[in-house]
Symmetry: C2
Subunit: 143 residues, 2 copies
């Protein structure tokens, strides 16, 4: 499922269409901000600025773009109330709520393994680098 190269004639393409489709969905779902928006909308509908406040670090621009993408994919509904000041509510669709289950499983996994990963990182970072070598307990610096 090459994205943009010339496919050689004769190259086997099992079911390239499905692969690309699945891939595109994963690209969206695997997106950092999408994930945050979805989990935040778990608690029910939110207004634009509520989302912005609850999703720490997101800019107004990225929130808009992310919401548009999710809306386009049918995962989120956008409801405009023509009041002054305007009010726009975002809510998960039925499809969006089905996505919640696998996504929350992922979040739960992350929550649970925070410690283990932090320790793995510490070990990795303390490994002797190519600039160093530890020989019989003595550290040598590469010249």
């Amino acid at each position: 499922m090459s994205l943009s190269h010339t496919d050689l004639p004769g190259s086997p393409k099992p079911n390239e269409r499905d692969c690309q489709a699945t891939r595109k969905i994963l690209d969206r779902v695997a997106d950092k901000w999408s994930l945050y928006v979805i989990t935040t909308l778990q608690g029910g509908s939110r207004r634009f600025n509520e989302l912005k406040r609850e999703i720490d670090g997101i800019s107004q621009r990225m929130l808009t773009l992310t919401l548009r993408g999710l809306e386009r994919d049918g995962l989120v509904t956008r409801t405009v109330f023509p009041t002054i000041p305007p009010r726009v509510d975002y809510e998960l669709t039925e499809l969006g709520r089905t996505l919640l289950e696998p996504v929350m499983a992922l979040v739960a996994w992350a929550d649970k393994n925070t410690q283990a990963i932090a320790e793995a990182q510490r070990r990795f970072d303390e490994e002797p680098k190519p600039e160093q070598a530890t020989i019989q307990g003595v550290v040598y610096q590469r010249l």
Copy 2:
């Protein structure tokens, strides 16, 4: 960001440390290439170029970077065989295999809902844009 708990009103930063940690993990896991590498390693250990061939569209550089990140997080092991030519095997760790379950659930979801999303996109893209308005069945172009 309140991914896994509710923020009490009035408490500005409940336990930001845990949130940020979870967030970092999600950032890695939600990464496009990480997801592909993990699912590809589901079938057992792979060599570098095997991964490169099976993950279509990934560059050698991104594969290296992704593998380093996963190795650092303790999700993948890297085994070097000092042969000529060299051989390096990558394999999911125990921790990495526990990640497989939520990740595969996500992939299954994407697979299952490809059609629904494609239709939602089609509907969205056919909606009258701000440049157009449909009034009583007649389409007007904004000037």
